[in-house]
């Protein structure tokens, strides 16, 4: 059904043109990255950044992935890509599951001062990254996981928990408590109710939590640069090293290809799950 407000033809044309303009503006960087990543370097240094390549080549992509000089070694971005995967997957999974459990407890197993506790948890959403750097380094050192992927996972889980708890709490606040009571009478316990009743109905908010956490953790640079060792550096840090470290000529085409590699996973997550994202964000917002 058409629920949009009707507008005149002139207004409509104007709106479309404006939208088109902004779309082009946002697409331009991607276009530049794409065309320059399939050109030989000589064409770029020759000065035609905006045009299509005269000679098409996939060599920059190959170099960026497995040959380019990153830091001191010529490994390409591949090992760092896997570092990021090894960090992102557990961090997203753990923070989402824990956020769901927190939301479940805060709405369905309420206790004294639970709203105050929740208020404190929300602080996590507002604390600037820089403030926690030094205390976090100390904690990682004490725990013996400084410079490891596990350490980064811990950092991201702690930092993401405020957000995931907020999402799930608001979502479960609108989830009928009578269902939990019915399940209690039916004989289901704490975890069984969570697993069999709440979680199967949590699809939209799980998607929100996963997208949010995935993009934030994948794109993080500061924690990666601060807490990772050489062999646990994530993609973002490696990309920076790639761009900075080339001693001789600046291989712009390789840099462009590397940047696309770094952006690809988040793009993929949006394409696969994006349409649930807005829906999920809206779902919990009515009650809360």
């Amino acid at each position: 059904m058409d629920t949009a407000v009707r507008t005149g033809n002139v207004a409509r044309t104007f709106i479309y043109l404006t939208l088109l303009l902004f779309a082009l503006f946002y697409m331009l960087p991607l276009f530049v990255m794409l065309v320059n990543s399939v050109k030989p370097l000589s064409e770029i240094t020759g000065g035609n950044m905006m045009s299509f390549p005269e000679v098409w080549t996939l060599d920059p992509w190959r170099d960026a992935w497995s040959k380019a000089q990153v830091g001191v070694q010529a490994t390409g971005l591949r090992p760092y890509f896997w570092n990021s995967i090894k960090m992102v997957v557990p961090a997203v999974a753990i923070s989402t599951v824990m956020g769901a459990l927190n939301g479940y407890v805060l709405t369905k197993w309420r206790f004294r001062y639970d709203t105050i506790l929740f208020g404190f948890m929300l602080f996590a959403c507002f604390i600037p990254f820089q403030i926690v750097l030094i205390p976090m380094a100390r904690v990682l050192g004490l725990a013996g996981i400084a410079g490891t992927t596990s350490g980064l996972v811990l950092v991201h889980v702690v930092y993401g928990l405020g957000f995931t708890t907020l999402y799930f709490r608001n979502y479960y606040a609108a989830f009928p408590t009578e269902l939990v009571r019915a399940a209690q009478i039916d004989g289901a316990g704490f975890f069984r109710i969570f697993w069999r009743i709440l979680l199967p109905s949590s699809g939209p908010i799980i998607v929100v939590s996963v997208i949010w956490q995935f993009t934030n953790i994948w794109n993080d640079f500061l924690f990666g640069a601060s807490f990772a060792d050489f062999d646990s550096q994530p993609m973002t840090v490696a990309l920076n090293n790639l761009v900075q470290s080339s001693t001789g000529v600046q291989e712009y085409n390789v840099h462009f290809a590397g940047a696309i590699y770094a952006a690809l996973p988040t793009l993929l997550v949006y394409v696969v799950a994006g349409r649930y994202f807005v829906r999920g964000l809206m779902a919990g917002s009515v009650k809360g």
């Binding site: 009928p176 009571r181 019915a182 399940a183 209690q184 009478i185 039916d186 004989g187 069984r192 009743i197």
Partner: protein, 371 residues
């Protein structure tokens, strides 16, 4: 001792006591309805029986076993919620058997129980559907199926019909009553609808502000309400309350009603008991049900205590089976229930017949019934 025994039960949230010393004893096979206005504590009491709310003081026992602190799933009770509380991600069949599964009942046995209940409630063709694909009435049936399949000691219903439309509500009401008669189940049923309470129950507990106002059979509650609250809450249209003065006249006790222009009417009490005599010359509140105030032809011919009086007709509202007529008696607007074809014109004088056999009297200060 009763099958379900509530002794001195109280409930507080923090420093606020919302239920005060509730005492109810329910026999096996009884249909007890808890009725009262919204917020009076009915659901809280039901949840305490279910074990979903803790008991602050007193005791609740089922079959002689004290239930304080026992987990809801170990009380052998089943509950039907106002919102039906069907698990949205499970099919109807899974919804019904979930409780059995949690209690470790074998699969073959679960399926047999499911078949029996589905046949009883005529929901066999719905078993594979999800709750979202059911109508309100069907959801209601599934919710009942989930309770029935457990074969519990006590069924608890919390306003199960209030989400249904008027027609379906009446149908389901009949069906619940029939189920009770067929199965002989023990039921505690919460509602704010006094008609549901009257039609379904074997006994009613009328509640207000966290207290039981009266506990009795529907007849007792209707005919001899213990106070003004019960009298006005139960019955629709509600009981007329007329201020009168008591006058002792030999063997008789008369209720004197002040009418317009200083005229006074004397109505003879049916039971001239001592409590009334003692109030000679004082004010009491006379309670008259609308059906005890009617046109002369419509009056109960067997009753010899029908008083006739003239009064001005205010509004006449034909309701199909009856016509409700308002008139001022003793300075208050009263509703009379007349035959559908009674001829009354607004503004005219009409003759009313008042059946004093059905009249009750309340103390105007305490609100308690005198006779």
């Amino acid at each position: 001792m009763g099958f379900l025994e509530i002794r001195n039960a109280t409930k507080s949230y923090g420093s606020v006591e919302v239920l005060h010393e509730i005492d109810i004893s329910v026999e096996k096979g009884e249909f007890l309805v808890l009725v009262g206005p919204s917020g009076c504590g009915k659901s809280t009491l039901l949840n305490m029986i279910a074990g979903l709310e803790g008991i602050t003081g007193g005791e609740i026992s089922i079959r002689g076993n004290i239930m304080n602190g026992v987990h809801p799933s170990r009380r052998n009770i089943a509950m039907v919620f106002q919102s039906y509380a069907l698990y949205p991600n499970m099919t109807v069949a899974q919804n019904i058997t979930f409780g059995l599964e949690m209690h470790g009942v074998a699969k073959s046995e679960r399926e047999r129980a499911l078949r029996d209940v589905a046949r009883l409630l005529q929901i066999e063709q719905l078993l594979k559907r999800k709750p979202a694909q059911l109508s309100g009435g069907q959801r209601q049936r599934v919710a009942m199926g989930r309770a029935l399949v457990r074969d519990p000691d006590v069924f608890l219903f919390d306003e199960p019909l209030s989400n249904l439309d008027a027609k379906l509500r009446v149908d389901m009401r009949t069906e619940i009553k029939k189920l009770h008669q067929d199965l002989g189940a023990t039921i505690v049923y919460v509602t704010h609808d006094q008609i549901e309470a009257m039609t379904l129950s074997t006994r009613i507990a009328v509640m207000n502000a966290g207290r039981i106002q009266q506990l009795g059979t529907p007849r007792e509650i209707y005919d001899t309400p213990s106070n003004v609250f019960v009298a006005t809450f139960m019955g629709s249209p509600s009981m007329n309350l007329v201020p009168v003065t008591v006058r002792v006249d030999g063997a008789n006790v008369i209720a004197e009603v002040a009418q317009r222009e200083g005229k006074r009417i004397g109505l003879k009490f049916f039971r001239p008991c001592e409590a009334l005599r003692a109030r000679d010359g004082r004010a009491v509140t006379l309670g008259i049900r609308p059906e005890a105030l009617t046109d002369v032809e419509g009056a109960d011919q067997r009753s010899i205590h029908v008083e006739r009086m003239e009064s001005v007709v205010g509004v006449a509202e034909p309701a199909g089976s009856d016509t409700f007529v308002t008139t001022r008696i003793g300075g208050v607007d009263c509703v009379a229930r007349m035959r559908a074809d009674a001829e009354v014109a607004p503004g005219s004088n009409a003759e009313f017949a008042l059946n004093m056999e059905k009249a009750v009297a309340f103390d105007p200060e305490t609100g308690l019934r005198i006779v």
